[in-house]
Each structure stands twice: as structure tokens, then as C-alpha cells.
Symmetry: C2
Subunit: 229 residues, 2 copies
């Protein structure tokens, strides 16, 4: 296993940048960005921020995965999003003066940079392209969530699991999907036992294959069909 704990990432050669909101930055903007950001190594299951606390800045994922979740009445996690390298997490909260409504926590070892709220807002104020990118991103997330709400309200758990696996296959691009059954259940919105039984069905139907806890999608087409029912 690599020791990533003391790796310092410079924005100039950050590979994740090309998929990020900063992709349009020109060279000296990247230098400026690099000057204000700090880097940190996170172990598995470490929080970036907690529901109820006050936002201090945004988190930019260089590598690793982060789950973003709310808690329902009985404290059950509802995973809203799984962020991957290149994504900026927590920027929604920069524009309201309110505490976080969600918690973000690493799903695996991750390298994550941090940009201070005032520095970030300064960037947004002075860089029209970034600002437009952010407005577009906020809008498209809003549209995504319409789909999520509709799915939750109308699809069967089987359908939602199929949908979730399609999303996760893209998030874990190349790699196998690697989530605890409980996390997966909390993303799909079901009980862990139900989730396990449905995964078993999918396995028996040859739609997926498991390697330990890791899930490989064998037949995306079938998932699409099941998801749309």
C-alpha cells in the first residue's frame, strides 16, 4: 500500500483538475489557486464536515471517494451523493449563511485540498467562468435531485438499486464498486437485509458479480431496463 500521507499536491499538476470546476483556469489562476489551498490526507471514514457545523470553506478531491449524507429522524444515514476525484464538496453551503445540512465523510483513503471560504468566494466573484460553472453545477444538481425524488417516490427498491448501481459504476469508473452493504442500502434507501437479498437476485440473474464485497456490473443494459420499471 502506498504511503500517501505526506504527499503534497500542487494544483499545477493535479490530474483531477481536468474534470473539475477549475478546468477552465489559465496558468496564473492555477498558481493563485495553489497559493490559497492546503492539502490533507484522510484515512477511511474520516469526516470532512458535519451536519450542523458552520462552513469554513470547500473541499476539492484529488483522489478517493467521499459520501455526502443527511440523517433521517431515527438517525439513519441517507446518502445523497458519492463524490469522486475532481469534485468540489461543500460549495453549496458557501452561498447561504447557514450550517451544513449534510455530513461528508471519506469512503476510502483520500487526498483532499481545502480552500478557505473567503478565498473561494473571492475566486467566484472575480472569475466569471468559474461563477457560471458553479451556477450551472447548482442547477444541474437540482435537476438530478428531481430524478432522485421521483425515483424514491415511485420506483421499487429493485428499480432503485439498479439505478444506484448504474450511477456507482460511473463513479467507480474502471474500478469495482466498493461500498459496505449498509452504505449501499443507505444510498438506495432500503434496509440492509433487503439490499443483500436483491444483490443476490442480481447475482443469480447474472447481472452482477461480486468479488468479496466489491461489485462488478456485468450487464448494464439489464440494469437500465430494471431501473426504468
Amino acid at each position: 500500500m502506498l504511503d500517501k500521507s505526506h504527499k503534497h499536491i500542487t494544483c499545477e499538476n493535479c490530474l483531477a483538475k481536468k474534470n473539475s470546476l477549475f478546468k477552465s483556469f489559465c496558468d496564473d489562476q492555477v498558481v493563485d489557486l495553489n497559493a490559497v489551498k492546503t492539502c490533507a490526507y484522510y484515512k477511511k471514514n474520516q469526516p470532512l464536515f458535519l451536519e450542523g457545523s458552520l462552513p469554513r470553506g470547500v473541499f476539492c478531491l484529488n483522489s478517493g471517494k467521499v459520501k455526502v449524507f443527511a440523517r433521517g429522524e431515527e438517525g439513519k444515514e441517507q446518502i445523497i451523493h458519492v463524490a469522486k476525484e475532481g469534485e468540489i464538496v461543500g460549495f453549496r453551503a458557501m452561498f447561504s449563511e447557514e450550517p451544513y445540512k449534510v455530513t461528508a465523510s471519506t469512503l476510502e483513503e483520500s487526498n483532499i485540498c481545502f480552500i478557505n471560504k473567503s478565498d473561494f468566494l473571492n475566486l467566484v466573484d472575480t472569475n466569471i467562468t468559474l461563477r457560471n460553472g458553479i451556477m450551472k453545477e447548482l442547477s444541474s444538481e437540482l435537476a438530478n435531485r428531481v430524478t432522485y425524488i421521483t425515483n424514491m417516490a415511485q420506483k421499487s427498491v429493485r428499480g432503485r438499486l439498479a439505478f444506484a448501481l448504474i450511477l456507482l459504476e460511473e463513479i467507480y469508473a474502471g474500478e469495482l464498486i466498493n461500498l459496505t452493504r449498509e452504505d449501499l442500502a443507505n444510498f438506495v434507501g432500503t434496509a440492509t437485509e433487503t439490499l443483500i437479498r436483491l444483490l443476490k437476485d442480481f447475482k443469480e440473474e447474472g447481472i452482477i458479480q461480486t468479488h468479496g464485497r466489491k461489485i462488478e456490473v456485468l450487464n448494464r443494459e439489464d440494469l437500465l431496463k430494471i431501473s426504468g420499471a
Copy 2:
């Protein structure tokens, strides 16, 4: 019944403005706004825009109510939001270059103004307060939808109905909640029959009272308790 069909609304004396994103506009900004907007009277159940079509501008509700909904796989409506006077509908779509993901349609007679996309974007570009208001609004809607997703995924239909009634009571501030049982079911995310049975339960428990189809909330506290279970 008033004949509202030819009423022309001027932004200068629009009563809905005080609750809107334009509330901070100074006098000459309001004059400019008034110059670019057009007014229209809508009958009940008339669409403002349709899912899949291209956004041409935003709709500003002077009076009346509008439902915003997506369609699930079997064409079933999922009501995402009920907008009331003062709200601007369809502005999310101004910032992405994509077709509408939702349909908006009046729930009752309404007076609705329209602002062209380029005029609106021009306002957003030149007016920092409006822009910040919009970013804040996008953010807070995003946060709201986290709650919706969590509710849909984790609460019982009874709990979701209680939650919906609390929201609707605020939207229909003062008036009685006036929605078809089907619309209400499509907001809560359940079958119409189930919804009717649950309303009956609430009536028997003295939590609500109906006046024809209209619903009066008698005990908000109980709804809060039921919603949070």
C-alpha cells in the same frame, strides 16, 4: 368571481414583489424590470412550460399557485414543488443549456408575468444583489431537496403526508389547502387510494378537517410529531 383576465400588473405596485427575489430592487430597477416583463392571465391547469422543451425565460407569479412536477417511468406525476405568489418559476433552467426536466402548470387561476431569458440573464449579470439572491435560492432549494429525498426514502406514507400538509399549510397561508386527491398523492408519493385512507385517519384523529376537497389543518403539532416518525 373577479374577471382577472385582462388585468395588467405593473412591477411598481406588485404586491407579490416583497416576497420575491426582486424585493431588494430600487425604484429605477423596478421600472426597468417592468419594461421588459409581459403579463398573462392563466386559467386553472394551464402549463407554463413543458418537460423537454427549451427554456425561453422565467415566470414570476403575481397571484395563484403553480405545481412543478416530473414524470416517473409510467408517466406518473411527481410533484416537486408548489409555487405561490412572489415566486419565480423556471429560473434554474436559465443557467444550463438544457431542456426543462420538469413541467410547470397552474393549480388555479393565476396572473403570471414573463421575463425573457436574455433580459433575465442581463439582470443577473448586472445586479449583484439579485445574483447573490439567486445563488442563495439555488443553494437552499438544494438543501430542501436533501430533506425531500431523505423523507421519501425513510418515512412512511403517513409521515410524508403529515410533512406535506405542514408545507402546504404554509404555501396556502390563510386559505385552505386546495388540491385534488391525485395531486396531493403525487406530491406525497403514494397511490390516490392510500392517500384518501390516510386523510380519513387524520380526520378521525381530529388532526384535519375537510370542507369539500379543501383541507384545514387543526393540529399542526400532531402533524409535526407524525412527520418526525
